[in-house]
């Protein structure tokens, strides 16, 4: 089974997925001073509120790697799983898995040609591991030109050792020159969010992150999958924009910042 695309499920005929331009899911959740408190789901017996409108996410988008913008090209990309999903941002992420990618190749502007020639893109399968080899990945991510800088790129690995399944997260590119220590960026990226002003700046994070990564824990006998997660720097959530624009004070439990992100379809390894 694949993964890696995102949609809005908007029910107001308005596919708005950005925090500062969110028009809600249902008509009563279009922008207003009181929409955050609208009841989305109530317990039929007790009348208790189960979900409030502020818990809706301003998201999301499907991103499709294609040659042309047509029904056929989009559908074919879905069928081969060369797609990823985002929580509403239009950041770009590209990944190739193969057996012999070299560390400096991802720095080449035309790295995709080698990626396709000697490996597979997101949604693809790796098989026939050469003796002694471990999967190598080339990953490049570029921020949304009208959005937030990137915090980090992560590889999420899952595998089955014959008895049980496991998962492990590897940070593979960290912004702001941070080193990777014990599989994680050495410190958090920080935040420039001014919640009261519903603003942030791109003075932290990076616009472009690139990584070459080789699985250090690879066992050719074990089935595995690898997908990429790209995390943006913190930005104001739609609730913060509402608070500012309508001059309302949100209750304590309302989330006011968000780190938007992208998830790619996995690359699978089969022994």
């Amino acid at each position: 089974m694949g993964s890696g695309w995102r949609t809005s499920d908007s029910h107001v005929s308005l596919p708005t997925t950005r925090e500062e331009n969110y028009f809600g899911k249902l008509p009563n959740e279009e922008p207003s001073a009181k929409r955050y408190a609208e009841v989305f789901l109530r317990d039929k017996k007790t009348g208790d509120v189960i979900v409030s409108a502020w818990q809706l996410g301003a998201s999301g988008l499907a991103a499709i790697w294609a040659r042309e913008n047509t029904r056929e090209a989009i559908f074919d990309a879905l069928a081969r799983k060369e797609v990823y999903g985002t929580s509403g941002t239009r950041l770009t992420v590209r990944v190739f898995g193969g057996w012999d990618f070299q560390p400096d190749e991802v720095l080449r502007p035309d790295f995709a040609a080698q990626g396709y020639a000697r490996g597979v893109p997101m949604g693809g399968d790796l098989e026939n591991a050469p003796a002694g080899a471990a999967p190598t990945f080339m990953i490049r991510s570029l921020r949304d030109p009208d959005g937030a800088n990137l915090d980090r790129v992560q590889v999420i690995k899952g595998w089955f050792d014959g008895r049980e399944t496991h998962e492990r997260i590897y940070d593979v590119a960290c912004s702001d020159g941070r080193a990777i220590v014990d599989r994680r960026c050495e410190r958090e990226v920080g935040s420039t969010v001014d919640v009261a002003d519903a603003s942030y700046t791109n003075s932290i994070g990076d616009a472009l992150l690139m990584a070459h990564w080789q699985d250090p824990d690879f066992d050719p006998k074990h089935r595995a999958f690898y997908y990429m997660r790209v995390i943006e720097i913190p930005t104001p959530r739609w609730t913060a924009y509402d608070a500012k624009r309508f001059g309302v004070e949100m209750p304590e439990e309302v989330t006011m910042t968000v780190q938007d992100r992208a998830y790619t379809s996995p690359i699978w390894y089969t022994p």
């Binding site: 005929s13 008509p27 279009e30 789901l41 040659r67 559908f75 069928a79 009208d146 997660r229 998830y263």
Partner: protein, 365 residues
Amino acid sequence: MKTKTDVLMCIVVAVVALSVPVVAPAQDAGTLDKDQVVEQPKPYSPYVDQHFPQRVLFGDMHHHTSLSVDSGLIGNTNGPEVSFRLARGEEVVSNTGQRVQLVRPLDFLVVTDHAEYLGIAKLLNEADPTLLATDIGKQWYAQMQGSQEDAWAAVVDMQQDFVSGEPKFDNPQVKRSVWDDVVDIASKYNQPGTFTALNGYEWSTISSGKDGSGPAGANLHRCVIFRDGPERVKQILPFSAFDSGDPEKLWEFLASYEEKTGGRVLAIPHNGNISNGQMYAEAIKGEAMTKDYAERRARWEPLMEVTQEKGDGEAHPLLSPEDEFADFETWDFGDSFGNPKEDWMLQYEYARSTLKNGIRLEDKR
């Protein structure tokens, strides 16, 4: 026509991959006559023989308009045309009279209104005579004209019909006319190369109902996405929860569509997080999943919707306690009726745990 272009391109790629020289047919098939080899000059432009994807297209593949009863009966009067106009970059007016525009156009949009009672809300809005000639049509119309609570009560009643699988209004001519309209609107906004409007709809079963597999409330919805244009998709009517609440029956329908039309179609499940452990379950109707079932699901549902407004579906903090980013827009209260969540359900709802379960099951076969 487009299909032909794609096939041709594939052949070119295959030839180039074999060798740079283009080989003319030898007289003795199977023997390469070197004298017959014609050397093609290597093109100066690096891109003429490059056929892999070089652009990312952004869009929304799960989107509702006034044609869905849970939208059109409670105040949304904007139909698919408004959605397409906004998506391609125009300013439109929302239901509350607010001007709205995107930061820049999307590349594509799939309008996926609920197949169940598709278009009924719009017809009620227009006081459609065929609908108002029925008792239930009159009742819905009165509820819609009443208070917000009355209108919402009509939606809740209709959703009960999604649960029972028994529609209270079922008119083949109306269904045909609505679906043809949906397809025609997509055709109108589909501009190959500039903006794509794919054909699609949503199959909206909530687990129980006709052939249903579990307690009412578990969201098992799928968005159905077609590769094709009107000449193919107008040959069918959307398969809905009124036809069956069993995903396997949906896959049979998808197969019959491809068989009948020569087209292509797939289905994308969404919101496993409100399925209470059913969306990616390993037990199918009480039995262990068979290889055949797994292969059919992978065939018809190669993707999952990983995240959306009603919660993120990548990972859950309880399943991934060492993942500091897992608790993102988490919705884990229960199913779509509010039946509470239990911890065992989580691994059958999220992308990461489902991928893990998937490779474990694959290893067993």
